[in-house]
Symmetry: C2
Subunit: 94 residues, 2 copies
């Protein structure tokens, strides 16, 4: 799984990410695409996956699996903080 | 699966939901608890599950599965809108 097949969802316009997913499956002919997000962008990553699978590539791709996890790091004030992460794996329907 | 075992995550203080999950597994002795959310609260539901499984009930409960879906409805202006939903199922480790 090359890192090129990952779409990291953040604060750019919503459709950028949906288009990113579509491009991976169409122009770049990927078999799998992983949509990743952290913190508050997790909701957005779910929206991207729902819109891509149900509206744009309906019948062509499907959700293969979802993983959630946490990352711990030290913030600028030296305090330990925890942030949730999600990875939604999409695959081409054979 | 009784609907009593569901925790619907919204805008209340974060720890209310974590406490809700803990209470279901401890006081109410549930075998499974489903954490549900819609739209922007999806990120929060993931946080609740991560904190409950990794900090408070570590080694006692685990994530059994995650489902995402969409709900379509008509808003006040009569326009069709779509909202993503998530259901995270937690189970007691035997």
């Amino acid at each position: 799984m090359s890192p090129d097949n990952s779409i990291f969802v953040g604060s750019k316009p919503f459709m950028n990410y949906v288009t990113g997913v579509i491009m991976q499956f169409t122009t770049k002919n990927a078999d799998e695409v992983i949509v990743k997000a952290r913190g508050k962008f997790i909701s957005r990553a779910v929206d991207v996956v729902e819109v891509a699978t149900k509206r744009f590539l309906s019948g062509q791709i499907r959700l293969k699996g979802i993983c959630i996890d946490s990352e711990e790091f030290e913030n600028k004030e030296g305090k330990d903080v925890r942030v949730s992460t999600i990875e939604l794996t999409l695959e081409k329907i054979p």
